[in-house]
Assembly symmetry: C2
Homo-oligomer: 258 residues x 2
Amino acid sequence: MPIISLAIQKGGSGKTTTTINLAAALQREGRSVLLIDADTQANLTQSLGIIDEPERSVYTELKKEIAGESSDLQQVIVETKSGLHLVPSSLELAVAELELVSVYGREQLFSWMLEQLRSRYDFIFIDCPPAFGMLTVNALVASDHVIIPLQGEFLPMKGVQSFIHHFHAIKKKLNPKLNLLGFVLIKFDERINMNRQICGQLEREFGSKVFHTHIRSNIQLAKAQEEGLDIFSFDKHAHGADDYKALAEEFLEKLETG
Amino acid sequence: MPIISLAIQKGGSGKTTTTINLAAALQREGRSVLLIDADTQANLTQSLGIIDEPERSVYTELKKEIAGESSDLQQVIVETKSGLHLVPSSLELAVAELELVSVYGREQLFSWMLEQLRSRYDFIFIDCPPAFGMLTVNALVASDHVIIPLQGEFLPMKGVQSFIHHFHAIKKKLNPKLNLLGFVLIKFDERINMNRQICGQLEREFGSKVFHTHIRSNIQLAKAQEEGLDIFSFDKHAHGADDYKALAEEFLEKLETG
Ligand SMILES: Nc1ncnc2c1ncn2[C@@H]1O[C@H](COP(=O)(O)OP(=O)(O)OP(=O)(O)O)[C@@H](O)[C@H]1O
Ligand SMILES: Nc1ncnc2c1ncn2[C@@H]1O[C@H](COP(=O)(O)OP(=O)(O)OP(=O)(O)O)[C@@H](O)[C@H]1O
Ligand SMILES: [Mg+2]
Ligand SMILES: [Mg+2]
């Protein structure tokens, strides 16, 4: 079953918020989902209500792979407050970027770790850090698809150009099956000229890769994170809930039509 | 003359936007300012109108220091469209994080590189990446002050806790003179309950370290970046201009009162 990364190196682009709420929407459609927190800042982990350093995290298992032992991510999975299954991150993951540099097969560790879990979930989502380092590379090498969330502004758009360059390199050398599933505009405000202009620019360059669903600015999405909940568990009448539900439907369509 | 870092690992916190516009406001008050782009994503460089890879960047000089040769950042400084002096970044800076790991004095390279420039400018501002890696560490070790911009939301606030932990470690082991000048709330909206709540939380914990000036949400700030200009050159009547002017005045007061 597909593995999907949420990635773009530009900070504050809605990667974490989209990982949680797209997954939660799919769970409500009866799909089983697993979330992987691949960011040492552990925002996904914190947003799902896990405030203390977890005893076992993606890092404990990564360390085993680095040492040439076999890992078992299944042991690390926690069921969070809102029912979403999560492989948490921890602050220790920060050293992984350095440790990984000289490890054989360093870009494929996530692929090996996730292989055993593929059959147990309908979808696995990986939340990536705001950097194109070894963790993002691992996520993309393990993934079938990547979704790129971004705000409709100048700097995020510059980030897209650089991301696409890396994406092609990874696809060519490390993971030919990697598919750019699409771009999702985040904190989108119809009345803001620049948001519409960036949307138009993306559509001219990437056509149907741009999701029609735009996630509107909605503080309820941030409030839900404070409560450790997805938007549907927190306030199912919020605009954020409508938008992520629509995104999930469009996501399923995109997967079918390929 | 003081060196000030704009730093917090949380992405999209207004580091780059604050570096440009706080510096520009000070320049309009007759101060000479130099900006350093310490982020491989080069957003500061792009936001000041430099779209092509610069021939010489902070990285070309950093490489010399790594090789044990003497660097000359003065050679790299460009005067940008809006008159702001900049040491640009480049995509190559991405490898610096790895190269620096095993270099003697690796946390002090920026200090050495900036020492010669201190006397030539009233203020030097360093824009940091969304990560607490070797570049941010170098910036903080070179700095007299750090300003932490952030949005009034849950995840940025979690980022503050982690940042403060690193800050104390750096102050203790590497740079006792490093002063936390203050926190600046970004994209602040008085009507949003969560923004006010986070502001209150910050004030209870850090008192007068929280700047009274809040930077309101103003798309003109993003548009200015698209034009390669600071907000005053782009639209001096914008709210963003008023707010950064007020921030600059408060910044000068804070430096005097210590
Ligand atoms: N549609 C939205 N409306 C309002 N706030 C939002 C929305 N989407 C995300 N946010 C908030 O904006 C901030 C940034 O979002 P988020 O953390 O998901 O981005 P990110 O790309 O994961 O950031 P980073 O690069 O730091 O990992 C968070 O505080 C989040 O709650
Ligand atoms: N007050 C504001 N009002 C509206 N937009 C803003 C404001 N401040 C910043 N922005 C926009 O928000 C986005 C994020 O800001 P910025 O790039 O300065 O944050 P950053 O902390 O430097 O991000 P990164 O972590 O990626 O380096 C940019 O597109 C910027 O133009
Ligand atoms: Mg995130
Ligand atoms: Mg920046």
